[in-house]
């Protein structure tokens, strides 16, 4: 059963000559209890997509299409959205300090969302908060509810943010680069914590990241976004098996190899000095610079004449696996 269905989601803003789309016709869905990874370089619109779903777009932007979550969130009045945000859908951001209030104790901040959405008394909310904090690995014997954010490490702060997000047992969590500012070891713990909580409470997860490794290891489905559009989507293992869109493949190829296939050959296989990484030339265009056809055309090694004239439609590559490209790659080399 789909918990979230996004149909033709388009976000536009006024820019000089007129209205321009920042997000262009996004379509995808997410089942209850499943996780969806979203990747793409910065500026591709990943955060905008999250804000559009949450109804938190900046004032100068308008959304059209449908975000079905029970009803269409895009047509709900702000008052009703407030009852959904933090309650049925929660968000975890990259920088924990931006989500935490530096002058309020952590216990209070977790309790606040419970009081707001669950009508608990201050005392009940505090008790519940202490349970939630224990659940994210901050037991109150060691981490008093009265601690302030600055008394915690980056990883611990992110745990508090997760506690706030989890407190009301939402059905959907949107985590926007939740571990980008953390060390790999802490990242692994935070991701494991999110995965565990999501699994135990049968929640759904949208995990936004620029790290393909994080998506590979933590999600069931994935979207690859480029310049405001979804260029490839499908089951995570299928997308990685094929890397059909040249952009997906380009991203993958620019990662330094983390495992050496010749490990056992020992020193003979010492890296040569000119072991170059493959790169994607150029950069992500700003939304007002996007070309008429496929926005990736001018960086794409496979582009032909019609790529820059016409936007390629999503084509089916396999069960639930689609790519918006005229010349998708067949199989991984």
């Amino acid at each position: 059963m789909n918990l979230l269905t996004v149909n033709n989601l388009t976000v536009s803003t006024e820019h000089q000559s007129g209205s321009i789309n920042i997000l262009d016709n996004l379509n995808f869905n997410l089942e209850r209890g499943k996780s969806l990874g979203v990747v793409g370089e910065s500026g591709c619109g990943k955060s905008m997509m999250a804000f559009a779903i949450m109804g938190l777009l900046p004032d100068n932007m308008t959304a059209s299409g449908e975000v079905q979550f029970g009803g269409n969130l895009l047509s709900l009045p702000e008052k009703e959205l407030c009852q959904i945000r933090g309650n049925k859908i929660s968000m975890v951001f990259q920088e924990p300090m931006s989500a935490l209030n530096p002058v309020l104790p952590i216990g209070f901040q977790v309790a606040e969302s419970l009081r707001l959405h669950k009508n608990l008394s201050l005392h009940q909310a505090q008790q519940q908060a202490s349970k939630v904090l224990e659940r994210v690995g901050l037991p109150s014997q060691q981490y008093a509810l009265s601690l302030y954010p600055h008394q915690l490490s980056g990883g611990q702060r992110q745990r508090v943010v997760i506690a706030i997000a989890m407190a009301c047992k939402p059905e959907l969590i949107i985590a926007d680069e939740p571990t980008t500012a953390l060390d790999v070891t802490i990242q692994a713990q935070i991701l494991a914590l999110i995965a565990e909580l999501v699994f135990e409470e049968n929640m759904s997860l949208i995990l936004i990241t620029h790290d393909l490794g994080v998506v590979a290891e933590n999600t069931d489905q994935m979207l690859v976004m480029y310049a405001g559009r979804i260029v490839e989507r499908g089951p995570t293992n299928k997308v990685f098996e094929r890397l059909a869109h040249p952009y997906t493949r380009g991203l993958f190829a620019s990662i330094p190899e983390s495992e050496n296939p010749n490990a056992e050959q020992g020193l003979q296989a010492e890296y040569s000095l000119t072991n170059r990484l493959s790169t994607i030339p150029g950069r992500v265009p700003e939304f007002w610079e996007r070309s008429k056809g496929c926005s990736f055309a001018d960086r794409c090694p496979r582009a032909q004449a019609n790529c820059s004239l016409e936007v390629p439609a999503e084509i089916q590559l396999g069960a639930g696996h689609t790519s918006a490209c005229f010349f998708p790659f067949e199989q991984k080399v």
Binding site: V184, A188, L212, G213, I255, E257, G266
Partner: protein, 351 residues
């Protein structure tokens, strides 16, 4: 191979200790000292890329600043091109500095937004002494081209550039005195992989073209693996394992190195089930450096293999004896692989 020949060793760091005095908790309580570097030694040869990895707070940036003589060690010495940095007079230090440049961790903070790119890049030229305006502009133009920017960019300001281009500006500034060693502190952190790959390729090209050596600091193990031929893993101000990069990554000995390597996410969904094992990584929540610098191994409280001995005395960096441990054929190069642990992996396997 492992002899520290003076002709080839460009930089020698010998038992460097760097302490910070922490602010007093109360007016009359004694000031606490915090050891950010606790007896660090390593050698970088000419043209070599030496990587430093470890979690934030382990002392990587402190090591960089100390090598750059921006901070003086409390004990130990740093020897660059045969001269001991901290004993040099200001005049001599300026001369030595030409050969030793740095790319700072945060290009937003380190590029003055009010200065033009030309000014920023030319700044280290003052180390070369008097120079005509023309010569200066010529060198700036040449260096900008060297890093893939245009000579016309000299009149622009940092905010006009993307994240990747700002790294190029920082690299140009480091490159302009034609140094023998560049200390690069997280040179590609917070860049998208595609841009990161461009900057890393540039750094490799420059190394090949100019015979540069790098002290390459990063918390990203795949990048260090790609960029360096030797590596040191730091934990709480100490080197816990060091050796040829590939050897060390393929046959990691220290439980900390192994935990770090296990935590790196790989772009391979088939690894997913294996990944769940991460849950059994030692709990690093209660990790507090200040209380960890006692007698024993600093990693003891997080280590899954800890025994009493580890808490009571601190293991020294030791060679992994060739042939003595499982998995190592008798190859003299292995002597370069050192670990500071009473229970290195090879010893576990051989039992």
């Amino acid at each position: 191979m492992n002899q520290e020949k003076t002709e080839t060793s460009l930089l020698q760091i010998r038992k460097v200790v760097r302490e910070y005095i922490l602010p007093r908790q109360q007016l009359f309580s004694p000031a606490k000292r915090f050891r950010a570097l606790d007896g660090v030694s390593l050698t970088v040869n000419s043209g070599e890329s030496f990587g430093i990895v470890g979690e934030s707070g382990c002392g990587k940036s402190t090591l960089a600043r100390t090598v750059m003589a921006l901070e003086a060690p409390q004990s130990g010495e740093i020897c660059f091109q045969g001269e001991i940095l901290h004993s040099l007079k200001a005049e001599d230090l300026r001369r030595v500095r030409r050969g030793l440049q740095m790319i700072f961790q945060d290009p937003y903070g380190s590029l003055d937004p009010r200065q033009s790119v030309g000014k920023i890049v030319a700044e280290p030229l003052s180390l070369l002494g008097e120079m005509t305006h023309e010569k200066r502009s010529e060198m700036v133009a040449e260096t900008l081209e060297n890093v893939g920017l245009s000579p016309n960019d000299a009149v622009k300001f940092p905010h006009e550039f993307s994240g990747g281009q700002r790294r190029r500006i920082a690299i140009a500034r480091a490159l302009i005195t034609r140094p023998a060693l560049i200390v690069a502190d997280e040179p590609v952190s917070a860049l998208d992989v595609s841009v990161q790959a461009q900057v890393l390729n540039l750094m490799m090209d420059l190394r090949d073209r100019h015979g540069l050596a790098y002290l390459f600091i990063s918390h990203d193990l795949s990048i260090v693996r790609h960029m360096t031929t030797k590596v040191a893993v730091m934990y709480a101000g100490r080197i816990v394992e060091t050796g040829p990069t590939q050897k060390l990554f393929d046959h990691a000995q220290h439980p900390y190195t192994r935990a770090l390597l296990a935590a790196v996410p790989r772009p391979d969904p088939t690894r997913k089930p294996q990944k769940r094992a991460i849950n059994s990584l030692p709990n690093m929540l209660n990790y507090n450096l200040e209380t960890e610098t006692g007698r024993g191994c600093a990693y003891a409280s997080r280590c899954p293999l800890v025994e009493d001995k580890c808490r009571n005395s601190s293991p020294e960096l030791q060679n992994i004896q060739a042939g003595a441990l499982a998995g190592f054929e008798n190859n003299p190069q292995e002597i370069d692989h050192k670990v500071a642990c009473y229970k290195p992996y090879a010893a576990l396997v051989s039992n």
